[in-house]
């Protein structure tokens, strides 16, 4: 696969996280776009590529948004793939800029959160979920992931205390990231274990809080970024694979196992070189599965790995092995802003590598791994993607 040389990722923006909002998706997407333009110091007309992801556009599409927002892009992409949207938009946009099909691409994920909208999304998620999973208790994603979690715990001996390690360290990170919706609250092991049961082994703090918000970044050439004096990060390698291991009766691994070694080889770095890891944390078991599949530990040892690893951004935990993980608190502590949640790992990694994270900045961050996962069509998440990013200096 051809590399992504010459591509710069700039201006990570996270905007307007709120639990419920009267604003629609177009407001969150457009407001994120405005912040991107302001941050880059460019004119709106200079944005000639537009990649957008949203679950709540309703009858509108990326094309409708061009008229809403007064854009005239010559390259457009709509990536409504939940937890992989951000990485997919980034890959597509990087190729477009590399091939000269666009000069500056705005990649934006945004969703509203109207009253009872989550219920409607869950009830109408896919034809398979309508026919064959929603009628069974109507638990939404909690139900599907409770089966995956239960199976993982029985197969590999993981416990709720192990999942707590992920949730607690992420909450610590969120306590240092102002926009996180749950960042003002601390979470103790006792709180975690005593939380209200939701579905089987899944309790309240294993679940994300649906919310509204926008996430975005710009992709342009390194030359252009330097010309605009914008600090940037580079995309070293990325890959994706969907509906992998489809014969596994219950999901406990996914597409990453097919390509992650190749991604590390193309990037020229390995898991031990990463300054931070951002996984898609819709449920802690899924983060644990990613740590295994991304090569941080072998399959089935995720529980032991998180017990022996300090995942706080500032290395302040007691465990000897350090790996800052979901350094802004992830969706578990920020809230899950629909498709924007699939961009959160990318924008957070960019902030860390560019050095614009505030209270949760990792000192001297050089390399970051972002992983995406998503779209529970029926009994498992189908999409996977992973990308290795690097600061401009390394």
């Amino acid at each position: 696969m051809k590399g992504y040389e010459g591509i710069a990722l700039v201006c990570p923006v996270s905007l307007g996280y709120v639990k419920q909002s009267a604003h629609g998706a177009a407001w969150f997407i457009g407001s994120t776009l405005r912040e991107l333009i302001n941050a880059a110091g460019i004119k709106k007309s200079e944005i000639d590529g537009f990649a957008v992801s949203s679950f709540s556009l309703g009858v509108d599409s990326a094309i409708s948004l061009t008229q809403h927002l007064g854009l005239t892009p010559r390259w457009i992409e709509q990536a409504n793939m939940g937890g992989v949207s951000g990485i997919i938009a980034m890959r597509r946009a990087a190729r477009a800029v590399q091939c000269g099909e666009a000069n500056i691409v705005a990649c934006v994920g945004g969703d509203g959160a109207a009253h009872r909208s989550f219920e409607a999304t869950a009830a109408n998620f896919s034809s398979w979920s309508i026919d064959a999973s929603f009628p069974y208790g109507a638990g939404g994603p909690n139900a599907a992931f409770s089966l995956i979690t239960q199976h993982y715990m029985e197969k590999y001996g993981a416990t709720r205390e192990d999942f707590a390690r992920i949730c607690l360290d992420q909450r610590y990170n969120a306590n240092h990231y102002a926009p996180a919706l749950l960042g003002h609250k601390t979470l103790t092991l006792q709180n975690y274990l005593n939380a209200r049961p939701i579905a089987g082994p899944v309790h309240l703090f294993d679940c994300v809080m649906p919310c509204a918000g926008g996430e975005g970044f710009l992709i342009m050439t390194e030359d252009r970024a330097r010309q605009l004096e914008l600090p940037y990060a580079r995309l070293l390698a990325a890959d994706e694979l969907h509906n992998a291991h489809s014969d596994d009766p219950v999901q406990d691994r996914s597409g990453w196992t097919h390509y992650i070694d190749d991604v590390y080889q193309r990037a020229g770095v390995g898991p031990n070189d990463m300054s931070c890891l951002q996984t898609y944390d819709d449920y802690p078991v899924i983060s644990m599965m990613q740590m295994e599949d991304l090569g941080f530990c072998v399959k089935g040892e995720g529980a032991q790995f998180v017990q022996n690893t300090d995942m706080r951004f500032d290395h302040s935990g007691s465990a000897a092995h350090k790996l800052p993980h979901n350094t802004c608190g992830g969706q578990l502590s920020c809230g899950q802003a629909g498709s924007a949640a699939g961009y959160l790992g990318v924008t957070e990694t960019l902030r860390q590598l560019i050095g614009t994270a505030k209270d949760n900045q990792i000192p001297k961050a050089q390399y970051g791994l972002v992983s995406g996962y998503g779209m529970v069509n029926y009994d498992r998440g189908l999409c996977t993607a992973a990308a290795v990013l690097a600061g401009a200096a390394v």
């Binding site: 989550f118 219920e119 869950a122 009830a123 109408n124 034809s127 398979w128 309508i130 026919d131 064959a132 999973s133 929603f134 009628p135 069974y136 208790g137 109507a138 638990g139 939404g140 909690n142 139900a143 409770s146 089966l147 995956i148 239960q150 199976h151 029985e154 209200r196 049961p197 939701i198 579905a199 089987g200 082994p201 899944v202 009766p249 219950v250 029926y378 009994d379």
Partner: protein, 181 residues
């Protein structure tokens, strides 16, 4: 309250939680509805591909292996193994919210011997992950077909035994609210 007043109140207070009767989700895709119809007279019917013999679920319009549309519903054994089970304490749907007030709602996933993985209501709380089970279909009070797992030793020949399980789950009756609209 006469019917007109009742309908006006329903429109004004259009909330599932205020309804006198709530029922399980009725929505199905066109092939899902077909699945419900085909399963009415039999214990379990699944799509079989006449080209490659693949058995599939959830129902679709094409065989997911050979992409042929030569799919026929055939009466199929529901024998399989329970992969995982989970007790739901929270639901997005009013019917289940009301049922959950008395006890958690049990669901599971079953690997059928004929191939597919099916998500089911668990008809008997003694079955655990790894146990052999039998899956049958039945209409719920929304007149749609749902799948239920029962212990493999149970004799389910004859519809009475199956109806018995559906009744014990409360799937054959709407969930009521006193004083609801």
């Amino acid at each position: 309250m006469n019917l007109g007043e009742k309908m006006r109140r329903r429109l004004k207070l259009n909330r599932p939680s205020l309804r006198a009767r709530s029922r399980p989700p009725k929505q199905r895709s066109p092939v899902g509805r077909q699945f419900s119809v085909v399963n009415l007279p039999v214990s379990l019917a699944l799509q079989h591909c006449r080209s490659c013999a693949h058995v599939q679920y959830p129902p679709t319009e094409l065989c997911s292996i050979c992409l042929d549309d030569a799919l026929t519903y055939r009466e199929t054994s529901g024998r399989g193994v329970l992969l995982a089970r989970s007790a739901l304490h929270h639901s997005l749907w009013e019917f289940f919210k009301r049922r959950l007030r008395s006890a958690p709602w049990l669901i599971g996933s079953v690997k059928l011997d004929v191939g597919p993985v099916v998500i089911v209501h668990i008809g008997c709380d003694t079955i655990k992950a790894g146990d052999p089970v039998q899956v049958f279909s039945h209409t719920d009070v929304s007149q749609e077909v749902v799948l239920v797992a029962a212990p493999s030793a149970l004799d389910l020949t004859g519809s009475a035994a199956r109806l018995n399980i559906i009744s014990s789950l409360g799937l054959d009756q709407p969930a009521l609210r006193k004083g609801g609209i």
